[in-house]
């Protein structure tokens, strides 16, 4: 009996192909939006949290953890203070510290940040669960005035190996404070990573010192121009300060002890943070926008579900005769209820399943493009629990919504008796 009612419901839907298809489409699009937002959000979060990995600690001048994270990893904002070279050496030489990579920020080139660091950075900086930085062209910097650029820098400015570039003092657009007497040369271009590395120009720490010879007052000393590059090369170019230090530990279980020791250091006010938890905190700060997005897409799903209700209610008048016939040939009230609710369930289920597949299709098309051009790996976007839960909930709510029209149809069919109304 159940199977035959299912057959009736299915044939009845097929009979109203156009309106049923449109209704399913509305449900599919709304579910696709919801799942798309949900998955993109998840992928964005995991991408975000994968910006830096296998670095146990980041040490900078004492400010706030999120502030330190923003300028050291995301190259956003500025360090309010720097830490001394001595402090870097102390950290590097601590027991249990496997490696320490200093970075120095402050200059820029046409809107992109310039970061001074050591060659070790290219080995030690990892992202997305331990992925290494890779070169798409060229090599690491070797000479004092060599630069390695991120993929986005190369793409936006259309730079290639051998391109000469002039750094700007500070974060301006360039002009009055250019280091135009010390041009750099691009020797390496990094592959896309989906991290701020793509937007960074990497030079050696010594280069940062070198270009600031004659700038000790904060502006350019005219004397500086008279110094030739060869003269500068003879100087001791070890920096006096760095902006932050990335630290790797020999054993992960010493991380809290090391962090506390650095944070309570008496010689100099230092701040050590663990990147993972701080990234999580930062994401939480941005969480409100995310919640609004989810609320909007949930409302769109509600609109999709209402379209099922509309479709069933508008079909009731044309189906009044059909219900009378079914009653006359022996359909019980529960058959009428089941028939209507099965149709609602079918509309909800097929619509939601189509929506989930649509999202898969969209990700299948765009994931390789995002990955190739921006290094953004969309993870966890495959069919998963969230899809099943969404399809299940949409179907469930559709059945509940179908109850309304079903009761109307039933009441009418009882009132009509055996008389077929046209």
């Amino acid at each position: 009996m159940g199977a035959s009612i299912f057959g009736l419901a299915w044939r009845s839907l097929l009979n109203r192909k156009v309106s049923a298809t449109l209704t399913m489409l509305a449900v599919a699009l709304s579910v696709a939006l919801f799942l798309g937002v949900e998955k993109a959000r998840d992928a964005a979060r995991s991408g975000f949290e994968n910006t830096i990995s296998e670095t146990e600690l980041i040490v900078g001048a004492r400010s706030g953890p999120i502030n330190l994270l923003l300028y050291s990893v995301f190259r956003l904002g500025n360090a309010t203070a720097e830490i001394s070279w001595q402090a870097y050496e102390d950290i590097r030489d601590r027991d249990g510290v496997e490696w320490a990579v200093p970075i120095s920020l402050g200059d820029s080139h046409r809107g992109f940040r310039v970061m001074g660091t050591t060659k070790a950075y290219f080995d030690r900086y990892k992202y997305s669960g331990g992925q290494d930085l890779e070169f798409s062209e060229g090599v690491e910097f070797d000479d004092l005035f060599d630069a390695v650029i991120g993929s986005q820098v190369a793409r936006t400015l259309n730079y290639d190996i051998g391109q000469r570039l002039i750094l700007t003092h500070g974060i301006g657009a360039g002009g009055i404070a250019d280091h135009d007497n010390r041009p750099f040369r691009v020797v390496g271009i990094l592959r896309p990573t989906g991290t701020p590395v793509d937007r960074t120009i990497h030079v050696s720490l010594e280069a940062i010192t070198a270009i600031h010879v004659g700038w000790e007052s904060g502006a350019r000393n005219p004397m500086a121009d008279s110094l030739t590059e060869d003269t500068i090369r003879t100087f001791n170019l070890t920096p006096r300060t760095v902006t932050a230090v990335f630290v790797g530990l020999e054993r992960i279980d010493t991380v809290f002890r090391t962090m506390r020791a650095i944070n309570t250091n008496r010689d100099e006010p230092l701040l050590a943070i663990m990147p993972g938890p701080t990234l999580f905190d930062l994401w939480t700060v941005m969480g409100n926008a995310e919640r609004i997005l989810i609320a909007i897409s949930a409302f769109v799903v509600a609109v999709g579900l209402v379209s099922i209700l509309t479709s069933l209610l508008t079909s009731l008048n044309e189906r009044r005769r059909e219900m009378s016939i079914l009653r006359a040939v022996g359909a019980r009230p529960r058959h009428i209820l089941i028939l209507m609710m099965l149709e609602a369930a079918a509309l909800g289920f097929i619509g939601a399943a189509l929506g989930a597949l649509l999202v898969q299709l969209i990700f299948a098309i765009f994931a390789p493009i995002l990955s190739a051009n921006y290094g953004i790996a969309l993870t966890g976007t495959g069919l998963g629990q969230i899809d099943l839960m969404t399809i299940g909930s949409v179907t469930g709510v559709a059945i509940l919504l179908g109850l309304g029209p079903a009761l109307v149809a039933l009441r009418r069919s009882l009132a009509d008796g055996l008389t077929v109304r046209v």
Partner: protein, 238 residues
Amino acid sequence: MTDSAPRVHIEKLEFAWPKSPRLLEIEEFDLRPGERLFLRGPSGSGKSTLLGLIAGVLTPQTGKISVCGYDMSKLNGTKRDQIRADRLGVIFQMFNLVPYLTVAQNVALPCRFSKRRAQQVAQTGSAATEVERLLSRLGLDDPSLIHRPVTALSVGQQQRVAAARALIGGPEIVIADEPTSALDADSRDRFISLLTEEASRSGASLLFVSHDSALSSHFDRAIDLNDLNRAHHNKAAA
């Protein structure tokens, strides 16, 4: 129930729609086994209400109505629905067929809701052959017609499909409510003779309702609802 007991038996039945004057008041009415009964009544005379009572979709305020020995006024809705599914075939004036089913699916429809009729059909062979047999009995022997959508049929063909549906699975009672009013004279006579013939062959009692007393010659017995219904006498007098 014995073979000679009436298929439908009504005694001192009274019925009124809510907030309306009494529509039906029937002292006694019988539909006997195998009988072909013509019930004449103009529209508004309470014909459809009487058929609703017999089919068990309505219940009388007082009195007794039994169908195949079951006292309908004492049964709940589910049970009455079951009796209708098992023992009644119904043909309407028009628009008898479910538009999204084929001819064959429409004919076999009662078997979806009645195990009894499905078993009855299974005894004679497969459902498909029984559908085909009934349709050809009723003059629809074009095999291509069986799987056509019903919307492609003429009104006369639709009514014959409805008759086949009413007869499938051997119900005890076939009720026809003005089934020929949309047909021209030729198809009307042909339809009635096919219907009465097939009803007799299957042993079903046929209750045929129409306003057109000219049709009564096709039947064993004819009753005027106005004679049967005393409520109507009273109303007519008023």
